[in-house]
Every structure is written in structure tokens, then in C-alpha cells.
């Protein structure tokens, strides 16, 4: 099958590759770029384990072709920590609040929560629950995921306040 040339920014770095036009973005990320953080749970957009951030939106990368991300700005769980390795407030919050167990939904869940907090820096519990409804977790019952996102929201807004002062 003829291959298409794609260029995109992934976690701050420009990548170029040849892909089959039908290659799904999740397979491109996992198998060609070796970014195995985003996972495949259903291949039908229901579970959200494959969630990545594409051009400022949460996207389920199992139902997007890699060629659709052409020219895009993409962030995966691998791009969440700071360059010096400091964990993002969400990554820290998930550990502090026991917001994960098997870890399979976690990369998608954190990536989704990242966009949620960009859009709404201090969400209520109800807004968090609605905001992550497209990401399934079979282990935690969500209660501690909600707390983890609240932890991150508090930490980030505290940091923002400090920066403003």
C-alpha cells in the first residue's frame, strides 16, 4: 500500500514518517514512535485508554488516522512531566490520592484531565465526573481519580496565584 508522508509535533519534537493512509494514530504512536504510554482498550472510542492531546483537544487516538494529525501539535503522557523529570501536578496527584491501580487507563485519564484543567482550572466534582466520562476505569471506581484531579487543580491554582503575586 502506498505510504503517505506525515509531519507533526509530538511532545515538543518534530517527527516525520511514512505511514499507510489507514494507519491509526494510536498504532503510529505506539509502534512507529515507541510511545507506548497511550493504550488500546477497545478500538471503538468508548474506553479512552488511547486519549492524547491533539491541537488543544482530547482525542481518542484509536479512531483517528495518523494522516489526520498531519501538521498537528500532539501531547501524550510521555510529554507530561517537565524536562528535568519533575512530575506534572496530575501525575503527582494520581499517586498521592491513589487514583490508579492497574495503570492501564492512567495515561489516557491523566491526558484527558490535563485538557479538562486547561479548560476549567477549578472544576467542581460534578464537572470532573462529567469531564472524564469518556475515560473508563475498571479498578478505582473513580472516587480517587476525582480527588487526584482536585489535588492537581488545587496545586496548579496555588502555583498560579503565587506566580501572580
Amino acid at each position: 500500500m502506498a505510504k503517505s508522508h506525515v509531519t507533526m509535533t509530538v511532545n515538543g519534537k518534530t517527527v516525520e514518517a511514512l505511514v499507510e493512509p489507514r494507519t491509526l494514530l494510536i498504532h503510529f504512536l505506539r509502534e512507529q514512535l515507541n510511545l507506548t504510554g497511550p493504550h488500546i482498550g477497545c478500538e471503538t472510542s468508548h474506553c479512552g485508554a488511547c486519549t492524547v492531546d491533539l491541537n488543544g483537544r482530547s482525542v481518542k487516538s484509536c479512531t483517528v488516522f495518523a494522516v489526520q494529525a498531519e501538521g498537528g501539535d500532539l501531547r501524550t503522557i510521555e510529554g507530561m512531566a517537565a524536562a528535568d523529570g519533575t512530575l506534572h501536578a496530575l501525575q503527582e496527584g494520581f499517586r498521592e490520592m491513589h487514583g490508579l491501580q492497574c495503570g492501564f487507563c492512567t495515561p489516557g485519564m491523566i491526558t484527558r484531565a490535563y485538557r479538562l484543567l486547561q479548560e476549567n482550572p477549578s472544576p467542581s466534582e460534578e464537572e470532573i465526573r462529567f469531564g472524564i466520562a469518556g475515560n473508563l476505569c475498571r479498578c478505582t471506581g473513580y472516587q480517587n481519580i476525582v480527588k487526584a484531579i482536585q489535588y492537581a487543580a488545587d496545586k496548579l491554582s496555588g502555583a498560579a496565584k503565587e506566580a501572580a503575586e
Binding site: C47, L87, F94, F104, R138, C139, G141, Y142
Partner: protein, 806 residues
Amino acid sequence: MNAITPSKEERAEKLQGMGCRRKRVEDIRFVQGKGNYVDDLKLPNMLYGDFTRSPYAHARITKIDTTKAAAVPGVVAVLTADVLKTVNLAWMPTLAGDVQMVLADGKVLFQNQEVAFVIAEDRYAAADAAELVEVEYEALPVNVDPLKAMADGAPVIREDIKDKKEGAHGPRKHYNHVFAWQSGDKAKTDAVFAKADVTTKELIVYPRVHPCPLETCQCVASFDKIKGELTLWGTFQAPHVIRTVGSLISKIPEHKIHVIAPDIGGGFGNKVGAYSGYICSIVASIVTGRPVKWVEDRIENLSTTAFARDFHMETEIAATKDGRVLGLRCYTIADHGAFDACANASKWPAGLFSIITGSYDFPTAHVLVDGVYTNKAPGGVAYRCSFRVTEAAYAIERAMDIMAQKLGMDPAEFRRKNLIKREQFPYTSALGWQYDSGDYHTALDKALDSVDYKALRAEQKERQAAFKRGETREVMGIGVAFFTEIVGAGPSRNCDILGIAMFDSAEIRIHPTGTGICRLGTKSQGQGHETTYAQIIATELGLPADNIAVEEGNTDTAPYGLGTYGSRSTPVSGAATAMACRKIKAKAQMIAAYMLEVHDDDLEWDVDRFRVKGNPERFKTMTELAWAAYHEVPPGMEPGLEAINYYDPPNFTFPFGAYICVIDIDVDTGVSKIRRFYALDDCGTRINPMIIEGQLHGGLTEAFGIAMGQEIRYDDDGNVMTASLMDYFLPTAVETPNWETDYTVTPSPHHPIGAKGIGESPNVGGVPAFSNAVNDAFAFLGSTHIAMPHDHWRTWAAAEKLGLHG
């Protein structure tokens, strides 16, 4: 002389041992996307396998043509049953003593059954080619109803054993009969029922559901032709069992098989069994000489690998008119699908279903289970429960409510009257189990007080009156469940898998610098074993938990174990860990005595050290003793500081709990809202309360899913109707309620640290609490039993049947 040291409490806190909310070790990699799951594995020259599956539930195969599939660019080979026959692998034994087709041999027996396995250079080519395998079918009559399986003239499901009169568990009554299994005294129980004041009888159905972990089943098989060795990475809850079974099936010597279970994305019972995908990948790797990866998709997962439940339980209780239970009778039809691939201890075809007398003092009981074949997927795993325990708990807890209703008694009061009393432990049930410990009345009373049960019932009464006056269209239900589990399989006198006794193991090595590694035969799928086993060691050995690495899932390095399911890790391997620690500690004590020039008996243990009795300033810390073990052991003593323990538990453990659910239901829409859910658990000694609460949240959410919406449903033609996440209910954050957790502590008397296991309690207790709440909401309108799942449609239909829609 050693310096003055920090206080006992300060030292203990630093260890992060048992009882503390230690943060999880595993999380560091998981929150960064650096977990290592099977599908993350990429080996040089790796091939991908994919299945061609049957669209029919029951059909004869007249022809399979793989020409077009084989011609797809990138396709390397196509396996069919005929190919597998050349290596005698077209069929495989199941854990339950049956045999199962690896690839369809002559006919298909359930929809989506594996027919051909295509191996290609990449997963896209494999998927393309799987669609091009041409199969000609002749449809056969289908039966998906277990209650009709043993009727005259029912379709013959298993032609291979049609005339066999004996099955793996005794005589067979019918060609679709798998086994009959019973427990208890039938004559005595029947006599009690004949004379009892009050009896109830209800067919209580626990529908077919699926564990549906977020990561599906998958593997990579890599056969090294030069060495004749197989390495198999996979989503295995029981890696050693896979190695042994793999060796028996493939005839590859067991020492030449290396099974590795890396990080697992949830299991819940789905990843105990051996599936066609594993066998086909192994054969494909042997045939091609290259590594082969197989990854199930979600539809394949829900429709083929290991369903749970499908128990149809006619449950009867006999009682006196003042509410004392006299006898329990249960006749169950168990639907095993096309092959009995149940994951039970081998001698127990119905698992530990005889825990059905639950938490109550039944003087007599009798249960009989008939397993049957139907045109449905094989399996019968324990979905987050010990073998068939959730089925038993659901039956007894629904039946207790039905009897309370008939007697006109409050369900909590009826339970309290019949709970086994504290002074009766150890308690032997009418069906022969010896319950280790319990304090049921304290637990129930604490639960009722915590939710202010009396006030809830008063509110419910007012609302019922208002409903009858037409002032509201909402009904309120209060569900009470008091469950007792039987977990931690098992004593080897009771339990084995294909003859292998169900012990488990731990091997601990303490390094010279006082750090160490513990390897175990269990395998975490999210339970946090790397965190909690280290806490046991920290308390037992006085070494910081942070200094102990925990490793599972590699059969080359781990001691033999039977794996993680049935809440057995803490009861069995947790015990093995403590026992191995005690061997190490005994040796360390001898070294300390030698160094301090006192007799062993003159030393006492103090958190992290041995000190001289009466002279606490003379001591040796465990870290010092670790160094000494490699440096200055007493004359005649072997150097080193390590131990291994294989723990064969003297009994099961019996965790219990009291759950209360409050629900509001709109009778016009069937929409329900969980107002409150309170769960009190007693799992004995608590190792990490944070992890316990996490296990409860997760298990309750699974119970919520099962009770309120999950079902693997088939139409009459055997089409599976709920095989995607569009149709199969997994709760999202929106509908999942907040959980209130609470506890009492009644340690297990026979377990070295008194722990009983917690992971599965919320599923076992949760399902009946939800179902009882829905049923309770409608009871005042004359309803006795509404079947699960209680989704909005079925709840609306129940209201319709009660004439509530005018």
C-alpha cells in the same frame, strides 16, 4: 556502644510496615506511561496473529479455503484445525477436566469461535487476511437456554462426547449434561421443609457477565529452535500454571518454557484460563521460527474469553413463623457454554458454591448443581470473587429478603436473628465449611447505626404513603446485605488445579547492605503487591519497605505458585511472606546472639533490632545483621540471609461485611439514583488501608455495573448481543456513586498475620446490596423478586408489570 536511638514509634513509622497508608511503588512508572504491558513488547522479526471467527452459533463446517488469505501480501501462514492436528493440538484440555477446540474442528459451537489463525508481518495484514479465509457452514439448530439444555431432543452440543456416560465429575444424565455436584443432607433438609411453618422458593438468576478488564487478553510467543526453548509473555494471572499446562499440552519440557507476565491491565478472573490465542501463537512461533504476538480486541474479549456466572438458582428457605431459619435448599442449573472451561479448583465443579448458607446459622442445607452445555462461549471464571462465591452470596441474600418479606419482618432484624454468634466461632456450617472467625452482630449493628437505619426506614414509610396518595412518582429502596466469603484457596486437602496443590510461595533474599528482594508465585493485576508485600516484610524484619523490591510474574525466578485470583494473594502468599521472614529472623537472632556474646534466649525483638533483655542499649539492627550474615556468621553456620516458604494454608479465610444501599427510583422512567452506599468490611488484619479502600471502591463499582446493567446476552439464534462497550455496561464516572467505607477487625486465627483478603468482598457483598435495594423499593407494592440487571428499561418494565403506569 551504640548511640541512643529514636523511639520505638519513630522507628516503626520509618519502616512503613503493616497498617500504614504507604503510597504505591508501582505508580511511579504508571503515571508516566512507563508501565510494561504485553502489547508494549516489540521483538525483532515479530509477527502478528489474528483469528477468523464463526458468524454462527452452531454449524457444521464443510470447507475451509485459505488460498485467498494466504495470498495477501505479508501473510506468512494460516493455521486451521487440520494443521493443528499434525501436532496434536487441535483440542486442548481445560482446567475443569473437559477438552476444548483450539480451532474449530468439524463444527462451530458458539458465535465468534476461533476457526482459523492468520499470521502476518503486521497486524493490518493479519486482519485483512483473516477476513479472506473462506469458510462454508451448514447451520445447525441452536440452544442458548440452559433450562432447555437437558430436554428431550435438545440440539446435541458436544458430538465428541455424546455417548460418554461418565464426565470428569461423575455420571452424566444427558448428552448436554456436564456434571452433577451436591453437598449437604438431602433427606434431613427435605424433612425440615416438609414440617416448616413458612417456606419460600424463588428462581434467582445471576446472569452471564464478563470481567472486562481494560486491557484484553494477549501474548507474545517466541520459540528458539536452536535451544528448543519457548518464551511466552502474556496477561497471565497464574504464570506457573500456564507453564505447567503449556508443557503438558505442547510436550515442550517444562524447564524449557519461560513464562513472563509483565504489568497486567486488570484481570478480575478473565486472565486465569488458557485460551486458543495462546496455543495458536505458540504453534505459529514454532512453525515460523519467529516471535508471534496475539492481541485480542474488545469484541473478541467480551464474546469469547471467559464469561462469569450464568447460574440459575432455585433457592428455598424454611423458617419458623417467628423468623428462625431451619433449612436451605438450592437447585442450580449452571450454564457452561460449549466447553467446560471453568476456572475452579479441579475437584470443585461448582466452586465453593456451598458457602451458600452465608452468614446464618442454618441447621440443615442441601445444594445440587447441574452443569449443562449450550451454544455459548466457554468459561465460567470467578469475576472478582472466589470460585462461585458471588453467586452463592447473591442467592442467599436475595432469599433472606424474600423470606423476611413473607414473615413481615424487617430484613436487617431477620438477619440479626439468624447471624452466627461470635461465641460459635470456629463455626462449622451445615455444608461442612469451618468458618475461622467472625463478629457479625457487631458489624451489623455498626453498619445500621452508621446509616441511621431506623430513620431511613421511617422516611421510607412516609414516602410509601405519599406514593400511594399519588404525591410522588419516586419509590425509595433500602438494600441490606450481610455476606461471608470463603477465600484464600486453598488447603491442599481441598484444592488443586490439575493435581497441583493450591499452596503459594515467597522467596526472600536480604542483601549485605540490608536491602532485599522478595519473589512470589502470585501476580498483581493492579492490586499493588509491590507495595503491600514489602509492608509485611518491613514489619516482620524491621527493614524499611522502601528497601525491599517485590518481583512477580517470571517463572524462571519466582518460586512455584498458583497465581492471583479468588482473593488468595494475601491469605496464601502473604502468609508465605511472613513465614519466610520468620525463618530469616530466626537466623538473624542467632547471628545477633553471637555478636553480642549472649544466648539466643537473652535477646528480644524491638521493631528493627534484637536487643539484650534488660539492657536495651546493647542491640544489633537488622541492617547490621544483614551485613554480618555475609561477613561474620557464627562458626558452623551457613553464610547468607535468605529463605523460601511454600505455604499450604490450614483453612480458607472467611472475610465478611455488612453493606447498605439507599436508592431512589422514578417509576415512570425506571431511572434510579444511588443516594448512599455504605460498606463495612472485616478483612482481619489491615495491611494498607489506602489500598483496601481503593479495592473497595473498585469492587463496589464493578458490583454496581453487574447489578445495574451488565449482561452478556444472546438472541435465540445464538448471536451475542452485548459484545462491545456500546452494549455492555461499564460504569463511567458520571453514574458511579461515592462510596462510604468502614471496617471492623476480626483477625483470622490461623493466618500468620491474621489477614483475610479484601479484593473481592465488595463484588460479593455489593451485588446483593444493590439488588436488594431495587427489590425493597417495590416490595411494598407486592413485588417479591425482580431479576438483575436492574437497568432503567428492566426497572421500568417491572413497574409496568406492577401496574404502576395506569
